[in-house]
């Protein structure tokens, strides 16, 4: 049965291995240069103009930076649709199950071998690609510390292996239930997308009790990149789940670095007194700002920041710190693998019972 499974899966395995080899070669060729550029940028002494080195590093192989994680994001869906869905559905569709199930192998064993071999191969394939992507992206991840964010979480590490197990088993089960390959593919894609979204936004934030922290409310500087709201409190790379602005009394008066329902921070000056809208009068003096100035002077920004601090405005965030990265990775891999096992059980039940 093992040899027969291989005989049937030769072509698809060859295609997958060729694609994996291409990804590995690409990573091997470009990876060292990326590491070198990172080393150059990291060695830039503090105080020196590091803009050129940083830009050279961050913008190198931009297309690969986009493509590699995207491929890893799509791989579980592809394997579920093209390896999982046809596994049983095609046999049912073409009638060859009557040939396969009347050989001297019980259909339970037939399904067990096919599920195990193809499923493990799919998971191994995803694991290897994830390893390549994780290694290749590691210099970028050291700078861009948002591996926990929903956009990047599923494109690194261990979780994609669990997604593949789930997508594959979902494909097989959908194929066994629907008995048609193409609708089973569609169900697989829809089911995987739905499960990923539900787990990302419904389960993952609750897997580990989020941490709470409060920090100073930092206003965006007049020039240069604005800091992410709450980043100060949550620490580098933390995944911020909620971010509230609180006043000195501890009451929530805004969110995401802003005040009020519109999330703005506005200062209005009249009769020499500057008021922070929605909060109250600033205790400090503000420099005069000409109405014609296109941009408030740096002194104004400093005064605004001082006003915010003296009024006692702070940011309270709930977040998952980056140090917890591997815990949700393991949990998700296990959750999706457990769901895959349940779906495999459904396949057995279907093949044993309902197709008769």
């Amino acid at each position: 049965m093992i040899r027969f499974t291989w005989l049937q899966a030769r072509a698809q395995t060859a295609v997958a291995l060729a694609a994996l080899a291409a990804a590995a070669i690409l990573a091997a060729v470009t990876g060292p240069r990326l590491l070198h550029l990172y080393a150059v940028a990291a060695a830039c002494p503090a105080g020196a103009d590091c803009g050129a080195a940083t830009t050279a590093f961050l913008s190198s192989y931009h297309w690969l930076q986009v493509a590699q994680p995207t491929v890893l994001l799509a791989l579980p869906a592809l394997l579920g649709a093209f390896w999982g869905a046809p596994l049983v559905a095609r046999e049912l569709e073409t009638g060859t199950f009557r040939l396969a199930w009347t050989q001297s192998v019980t259909r339970q064993r037939w399904l067990a071998v096919k599920l195990a071999l193809t499923g493990v191969a799919a998971m191994a394939l995803t694991g290897l690609l994830s390893l390549i992507v994780t290694w290749w992206s590691s210099p970028l991840d050291r700078v861009n510390l948002s591996r926990l964010s929903p956009g990047m979480f599923g494109e690194r590490g261990l979780a994609p292996v669990g997604y593949t197990a789930f997508a594959f088993a979902l494909g097989v089960a959908a194929g066994a239930l629907i008995r048609r390959t193409v609708p089973a593919m569609a169900v697989t894609l829809a089911g995987l997308t739905g499960a990923r979204l539900a787990v990302t936004y419904g389960v993952r934030p609750r897997l580990l009790t989020p941490l709470h922290a409060t920090g100073a409310l930092v206003l965006p500087a007049a020039s240069g990149p604005a800091p992410a709201p709450g980043a100060d409190a949550a620490g580098p790379g933390g995944w911020i789940l909620s971010d509230h602005v609180i006043n000195a009394a501890g009451r929530v008066i805004g969110s995401n670095g802003g005040i009020g329902p519109n999330g703005e921070i506005g200062f209005a000056t009249s009769h020499g007194i500057t008021r922070l809208q929605g909060v109250g009068a600033c205790p400090n003096a503000f420099p005069a700002v000409s109405d014609r100035a296109s941009q408030p002077p740096p002194a104004f920004a400093a005064a605004a920041q001082e006003c915010v601090s003296r009024l006692g405005l702070r940011e309270a965030v709930t977040y998952q710190p980056l140090s917890r990265y591997w815990q949700p990775q393991w949990y998700e891999a296990l959750i999706f693998s457990a769901a895959a096992l349940a779906l495999a059980g459904l396949c057995f039940w279907r093949v044993h019972r309902s197709l008769t």
Partner: protein, 340 residues
Amino acid sequence: MAAAARQRGPAVSRPAARRPAHGPRTIPAPSPHRPPPFVLPSGHPLAPAAAAGKRYGRRWALRDCTLAIPAGKVVGLAGPNGAGKTTLLQLSAGLLQPTAGTITVLGGRPGTSAAHLARVGFVAQDEPVYRRLSIAAHLRMGSWLNPCWDMELAGRRIAGLGLDPRQRAGALSGGQRAQLALTLAVAKRPELILLDEPVASLDPLARREFLQGLMEVVAEHGTSVLPSSHLTGDLERVCDYLIVLVASRVELAGEVSDVLASHRRLTGPRRDPAALPAGQEVIEASHTDRQSTLLIRTDGPVLDPAWTVRPVTLDDIVLAYLSRARATGAARRPGLEVVR
């Protein structure tokens, strides 16, 4: 061999002990409660299906079918479309499980173990093969998946058919595909080969070659074969034993030679078929103003000189049973198809 009279399924109203008034005579009718051991003139029971039934949704594809099949013979299973032939064969191959009752093939429940699967070969309708795999790959599959696989036999059959083992199964003609499917079933060296409409899609030449191949296998290995067909002519050519299944009831079962010997066509002046002597059962009767033509079943000679007695072909006999079953079927249709 008998149609069962047991009632199964509470939702269906059927007379509890409706014995077939015109059932095959060689077999005693079973008691309503417990089928007797099947004693067959031709050997031990091979595949007694004890009142097996198969339901799809609310429709019974096969109901109350009790059947025993002699060993070591080619047993033709004839019947119109929808009689339950395919369902019966798939039940016997273990592809389906009976909704009610049990099915026993070669002393075991089909499809439950690898050992039992090895003893039954099956060629499904339309002979499914893996279109992308070559003939040689199919034979390798057979050798991997079957403990008693006879590669020499398989290779010899493929070579004998003039097929290139490297050819893809998808590129084969219908007849070649049927031969490949038969080869797979035969080289498994089973004790029983089930063939579901094996020649339905073949042209006459391919049909003859296929049946020849089947006969060689039977002659060489003594395998029992159970082909089904709605074409009686094909069955007549190869079968020793014939079962006519109509609406999942056995209308006729017996050795082909006995069946041929015990049926006669009588032509003579018009008369009431009921006036025939005891022991002559009318299967089919047609009348003109002056003449009656009867197809009768009798074990003795026809002595009445008014009749012109002629032998009949198997085709005519089967057709007569089918049309009789259809004529009397109106009464029991509701029992066979539950429509609510």
